[in-house]
C-alpha cells in the first residue's frame, strides 16, 4: 500500500503530494525532470495547475465530493489521465492516487508516470 511517507521518500518515480485543500505541498526531483515543472512553480499552488482546463470541473466536483463524503471513487488504482506539462503540452500519464488521513486531515498523494510512448521530458 502506497503511503504519503513512501511518496515523500520516492526518488525513482515522479511523485506529488497535495493537502486537503488541493494545494500542492511536495514534488520530487523526478517529477520536475519528467514533467518540466520546478518546485517553486508548483508548491503552494492549486493542483489544477497541472490539470488541463477541460478536466478541472471534474476535479473540483470529485475532490469536493470526497471532502464531503470521504468515499473515494478513483483512489488506489492506476488511471490514465491527462497531465499538463510546464511547456503547456497535454499528455496522458499513469496516475496512481492515494489518500491518507493525517492528524484529522486528508492528505493526497500520487505517482504520475509517463506512458511508454508519452512525451515525457526525460
Amino acid at each position: 500500500m502506497l503511503t504519503i511517507d513512501a511518496l515523500k521518500a520516492e526518488t525513482a518515480i515522479p511523485a506529488i503530494i497535495v493537502d486537503r485543500d488541493g494545494t500542492i505541498v511536495h514534488i520530487n526531483e523526478v517529477f520536475e525532470e519528467t514533467w518540466g515543472w520546478r518546485k517553486d512553480q508548483l508548491v503552494g499552488e492549486s493542483l489544477t495547475t497541472i490539470i488541463p482546463d477541460n478536466l478541472r470541473d471534474a476535479h473540483h466536483m470529485g475532490f469536493s465530493r470526497f471532502a464531503v463524503t470521504g468515499k473515494p471513487t478513483i483512489l488506489n488504482q492506476a488511471l490514465e489521465l491527462i497531465i499538463l506539462k510546464a511547456d503547456g503540452q497535454k499528455t496522458p500519464a499513469e496516475h496512481y492516487i492515494v489518500a491518507e488521513e493525517i492528524d484529522g486531515n486528508w492528505v493526497f498523494g500520487a505517482t504520475i508516470k509517463p506512458l511508454d510512448d508519452s512525451g515525457a521530458d526525460s
Partner: protein, 565 residues
C-alpha cells in the same frame, strides 16, 4: 493562501461536494461539455446510461459517448443536438432514442448553451429516461387501438379462458367482457362443426402455429353468423404458450354476397351457354346452307353437263328423223316404175332413150347415197354412245360425291379427285375452250378427309377459274387452268392456277368475306371454300399478281392435322 481564503475555499468545496452528491442521486443524467463538446463533468446516472466508468467519460466527446437515433435512424454527428447547441449557440429540447451497445433508452433531451466568464462556452445537457413512460404510452395506444378495432378480438390464457375482449367482440357476439371473463369461447359453438374441426384447431394452436378459418358461431341471442377467425398463440420468455389472441371478423354478409354472386354467375354462365348453343346452331345452319348450296351447285353442274351432252343427242335424233331414206325410196320407186313401164322394150329403152340411160345413173347415185347414209348413221350412233357414256359418267360421279349433312372421313387420293372434278366440269371447260394442264405428284399419300366437302371445294375452285378466264378476253391458246398436286414440308395439297382476270392484291382479303361471291355464282363462294378447308384442318391461300395477271389458289392439309397413308 490566507487562512480566511482557505476557509472560503473549503466552504465552496463543501457546497460543490453536496451538489455533486445531490446530482448523483437524482434519476436524470446530467452532463456538460467544453466548447469542443468534450465531457467536462457528468453525474452517475449519465455514467450508468452510457455504461462507462466515470473516469473514462471525462474529457471524451459527448457526441461519441451519446449516440442518438431519431425514428430508428442514427443521427449524423453534425445533426447531434450537442453539436447543434454548440454551433448554433442555442437551447434544444427534444426526444431521442439512445442506442449504445446493448442498452436502448428513449430520452427526453434538454440542452442549454452556456457561456461563463472564465470557463468559456459549454453545452449543459439533462437527459431523462422516459422509456417506461413511452412503453406505457405505447401500450395504452395499442390497447386503445385494440379496443376500437373493427375486428372482434379476444385474449385468453393458455387454457382458453377469456381474460379480455374488445368492444367489437361484444358487438359481434352480444357477449360483454363480464359475460365471458374466465369462461371458454366454446359458448359460441353453433353445433355446425364436428369434433374433428375443433380438434384440428386446437392441435394447430397448441403446436404454436396460427390457425385461420371460417367458423359458423352462435351469438348470445342464439342467431348464427359466419366469422373469419385467426387464432395466434403468444409465447412467454421461456417459449411456452402463455396466451391466445383470437381475431374475428363477421363475414356473414360477405358469404351472402358471395352466394348471390354465385347465383348471378351461374345464371350468366347458363345464359352464355344458351347463347353459345344458339350461335353454334346458327353456325351449323350456315354450314348446312353452304353445303346445300354446294350440293345444288354440284347438281347444277351435273345437270348442265348432262344438258350439254343431250344437245348433240337431240341434234342427232333430229337428223335421224330426216326424210333422206324416204326420198331415196321414192326415187328408187320412180326408177322401178319407169323400168316396169318399158318392160317390153327394156333393151331399147335403156340403150337408145336418154331417159332410159339416166335410170341407171340414178340407181348408181342411189347406191352411193345409201352407203353414205349408212356411214352417217353409224357415226351418229357412235356420237350418241359417247354422249350417253358421258352422261353415265357424270351421273356416277354425282352419285359418288352426293353429300349428306354428316361429315364422313375416308381415305382419298387427291389426284383421282382432281380428275373427277375435271370430268364434272368438262362441259364448261370445253364450251369456253379452256386447256387443262396437269402437274400431278406421284405417288401422293392418301388423305383422310370428308371427300364430299373436298369435292365441293375443288369443283367450286375450278368453276371460279373458268369464270375468271371467261371474264378475261384472251386468245384460245392463252386460256389455261393448271392443276397441280404436291406433297412437301409435311403437307399434302393441290393448286389451281388460272390465266383469268385476277384480283387486285389490295382486294384479296375482301373476296374471302361472306357474301362476296362473284356476280352469277351460286353463293358457294371462297368464304365457304376457306371455311371447309379450315374445318378439315387445312389452309387455303389465294394469290394474284393483280388485275389481268391470273390467280392461284393453293390448298394444303397438314400431315399432323389429318390422317394419311
Amino acid at each position: 493562501m490566507t487562512e480566511n481564503r482557505k476557509n472560503k475555499l473549503r466552504e465552496l468545496r463543501a457546497t460543490l461536494g453536496k451538489i455533486e452528491v445531490a446530482l448523483g442521486t437524482i434519476s436524470d443524467a446530467i452532463v456538460w461539455t467544453d466548447q469542443l463538446g468534450q465531457i467536462q463533468w457528468c453525474n452517475k446516472p449519465f455514467d450508468d446510461l452510457v455504461g462507462n466508468p466515470h473516469i473514462l467519460n471525462l474529457g471524451k466527446s459527448l457526441v461519441e459517448r451519446l449516440p442518438l437515433h431519431e425514428h430508428g435512424t442514427r443521427l449524423p454527428d453534425q445533426g447531434h443536438p450537442v453539436n447543434l447547441i454548440l454551433q448554433g449557440k442555442k437551447n434544444i429540447e427534444g426526444y431521442y432514442e439512445f442506442v449504445g451497445g446493448a442498452k436502448k433508452a428513449y430520452l427526453e433531451f434538454l440542452g442549454r448553451y452556456q457561456e461563463m466568464p472564465g470557463s468559456g462556452e459549454s453545452a449543459v445537457v439533462v437527459l431523462r429516461d422516459i422509456t417506461e413512460e413511452k412503453n406505457l404510452e405505447q401500450i395504452k395506444l395499442q390497447s386503445a387501438a385494440l379496443n376500437r378495432a373493427a375486428n372482434a378480438i379476444a385474449i385468453t390464457d393458455n387454457q382458453g379462458a377469456v381474460i379480455w375482449v374488445n368492444q367489437s367482440f361484444t358487438e359481434l357476439t352480444g357477449y360483454s367482457l363480464e359475460d365471458v371473463y374466465s369462461r371458454k369461447l366454446n359458448i359460441l359453438k353453433s353445433g355446425q362443426h364436428d369434433q374433428s374441426f375443433y380438434r384440428n384447431l386446437w392441435d394447430t394452436i397448441l403446436a404454436g402455429e396460427v390457425w385461420e378459418g371460417e367458423t359458423v358461431n352462435r351469438k348470445k341471442d342464439k342467431s348464427l353468423y359466419v366469422e373469419q377467425q385467426t387464432i395466434t398463440p403468444v409465447m412467454d420468455g421461456n417459449g411456452k404458450i402463455s396466451h391466445f389472441i383470437a381475431i374475428k371478423q363477421d363475414i356473414s354478409q360477405r358469404k351472402k354476397t358471395e352466394e348471390e354472386l354465385e347465383v348471378y354467375r351461374t345464371r350468366l354462365e347458363k345464359m352464355v351457354a344458351e347463347k353459345t348453343r344458339e350461335l353454334e346452331a346458327a353456325q351449323l345452319e350456315l354450314v348446312n346452307r353452304a353445303m346445300e348450296a354446294g350440293m345444288s351447285q354440284m347438281a347444277a353442274i351435273g345437270l348442265h353437263n348432262i344438258g350439254n351432252a343431250i344437245t348433240p343427242l337431240n341434234v342427232l335424233t333430229d337428223k335421224m328423223k330426216s326424210r333422206e331414206l324416204e326420198t331415196m325410196s321414192r326415187l328408187l320407186h320412180k326408177c322401178h316404175d319407169d323400168l316396169k313401164g318399158h318392160a317390153d322394150d327394156l333393151g331399147e329403152y335403156v340403150s337408145a332413150g336418154q331417159r332410159g340411160r339416166q335410170v341407171f345413173d340414178y340407181m348408181g347415185e342411189l347406191i352411193d347415197s345409201l352407203r353414205a347414209y349408212d356411214k352417217k348413221q353409224f357415226d351418229m350412233f357412235e356420237k350418241m354412245e359417247t354422249a350417253l357414256a358421258y352422261i353415265s359418267q357424270i351421273l356416277t360421279l354425282q352419285q359418288f360425291y352426293a353429300s349428306g349433312s354428316q361429315e364422313i372421313k375416308e381415305l382419298v387420293d387427291l389426284n383421282n379427285m382432281l380428275e373427277d372434278a375435271i370430268s364434272l366440269q368438262m362441259g364448261a371447260l370445253e364450251k369456253r375452250q379452256i386447256n387443262i394442264k396437269r402437274s400431278l405428284a406421284e405417288p401422293l399419300p392418301k388423305l383422310l378427309i370428308d371427300k364430299n366437302r373436298l369435292m365441293q371445294v375443288i369443283v367450286n375452285l375450278i368453276k371460279n377459274s373458268c369464270e375468271a378466264i371467261e371474264s378475261h378476253q384472251s386468245a384460245p391458246q392463252d386460256k389455261v387452268i393448271e392443276i397441280k398436286t404436291f406433297t412437301q414440308n409435311h403437307q399434302i395439297g393441290f393448286e389451281i392456277v388460272d390465266s383469268g382476270i385476277g384480283v387486285n392484291p389490295a382486294e384479296i382479303d375482301t373476296i374471302f368475306k361472306l357474301g362476296k361471291s362473284k356476280k352469277g355464282s351460286t353463293g358457294f363462294g371462297l368464304y365457304y371454300c376457306k371455311m371447309f378447308v379450315e374445318k378439315c384442318n387445312g389452309k387455303l391461300i389465294f394469290f394474284s399478281r393483280g388485275l389481268g395477271k391470273g390467280a392461284s389458289v393453293r390448298v394444303a392439309f397438314d400431315e399432323s392435322g389429318g390422317h394419311h397413308e
